[in-house]
């Protein structure tokens, strides 16, 4: 039985696909057989972030429609053992995802995989609802910024009312908060919501804080999930997030501003 984790946020551009790629890769690095599914039908991007865009032959909608099987469609990652990508369709519209179709694919994947990561599209429409419907756990990606926090709250409401677990009255979807593009310097100056602020507002347990980092853009440019850049702050923060996801206690890093010299302290910069 696989654990199904949705990476969602409501708002676009907060780092869902970056996080899905990093978390999926991180779980595979830990030895778990993992597949990352792109639910963003019509606007696929996971293939680019994972650097497999030239190996896409079939897609998720093909599998649902029975045009191809999973083995033909999933792309096996060449860097990490046990990591697979199921790309979204670039052409069809998002209503191509039927609940029965998605369920059938997830059930089949569940037989052989340990983790299924569902990379949700932005918004709260069909694609996003399908991505979260079957989830056991949800990672809500949030930027420390008003519109992102509000949208995250909205998504938390939907998880609590419109997921399969909610509809069937089972244990609730386990919610985690992943704060991305965090800038400790701006927090210290009072210009940005802090980790504690966001936790208090949303009342959800934090699973990771990813600092705003040059490494994220660099990683996406070359099509390599940022978690493989172990030298980078963002890569290390994602590695810590994986530990917490697996139930281990890890100290938070990169949430305090780096110490500046006396000169900078006095004259700013």
């Amino acid at each position: 039985m696989a654990r199904i984790i949705v990476v969602t946020s409501g708002k676009g551009g907060v780092g869902k696909t970056t996080s899905s790629a990093a978390i999926g890769t991180g779980l595979a690095l830990k030895g778990f057989k993992t597949v990352i599914i792109d639910f963003d039908i019509g606007l696929r991007n996971l293939d680019l972030i994972m650097g497999v865009e030239r190996r896409v032959v079939y897609d998720f909608v093909n599998v649902i429609n029975g045009d191809s099987n999973l083995n033909q469609t999933m792309i096996k990652d060449k860097r990490v053992d046990g990591l697979y990508i199921l790309p979204a369709s670039q052409t069809r519209d998002k209503d191509a995802l039927t609940r029965e179709g998605v369920e059938r694919v997830l059930n089949e994947l569940s037989e052989t995989f340990d983790y299924i990561i569902c990379d949700s599209p932005a918004g709260i429409e069909q694609g996003a609802l399908m991505a979260l419907y079957f989830a056991d756990e949800a990672i809500v990606v949030t930027n420390p910024e008003v519109s992102s926090v509000r949208d995250s709250d909205r998504i938390l409401g939907i998880l609590a009312s419109k997921s399969k677990r909610a509809e069937e009255g089972k244990d609730a979807v386990k919610e985690h908060l992943l704060l991305t593009r965090y800038n400790p310097g701006r927090v210290q100056r009072g210009d940005m919501l802090s980790v504690e602020d966001v936790c208090e507002i949303l009342a959800v347990k934090m699973i990771g804080v990813i600092p705003e980092s040059q490494a994220v853009l660099r990683a996406s440019n070359v099509g390599e999930p940022v978690i493989l850049d172990e030298q980078s702050d963002a890569g290390q923060a994602y590695l810590d997030t994986i530990e917490r996801l697996l139930g281990n206690q890890v100290e938070y890093r990169f949430i305090e501003e780096e110490k500046k010299g006396i000169f900078k302290r006095l004259f700013g910069g």
């Binding site: 926090v149 509000r150 009312s161 009072g190 210009d191 602020d197 208090e200 507002i201 700013g268």
Partner: protein, 86 residues
């Protein structure tokens, strides 16, 4: 923070503004969700009871509201408009 900042007048930080606004929004949303589940169900039940034991009324003649006035005080308000000629 640079030395110059010490001479500027103190302002409430932008982040605390953001936090305050978000707390209100989130509280409202969560109340709204609760309402849609519990209160609408209660409204329906009360309506049925009144129809069964007292008088047939329209479904819009009844309103149930829950207000959180203070931290430790909530008011449940039930309003039933009865038709004039029985």
């Amino acid at each position: 923070m640079s030395l110059l900042n010490y001479f500027r007048p103190k302002r409430t930080s932008a982040a605390s503004h953001a936090k305050e606004r978000l707390q209100i929004i989130v509280a409202q949303r969560r109340r709204g969700d609760e309402r849609s589940d519990t209160l609408s169900a209660m409204e329906k039940d009360i309506l049925e009871v009144i129809r069964k034991y007292y008088i047939n009324i329209d479904s819009d003649a009844i309103s149930v509201q829950l207000e959180q006035n203070e931290d430790d005080l909530s008011v449940l308000e039930l309003n039933v408009t009865l038709p004039e000629d029985k």
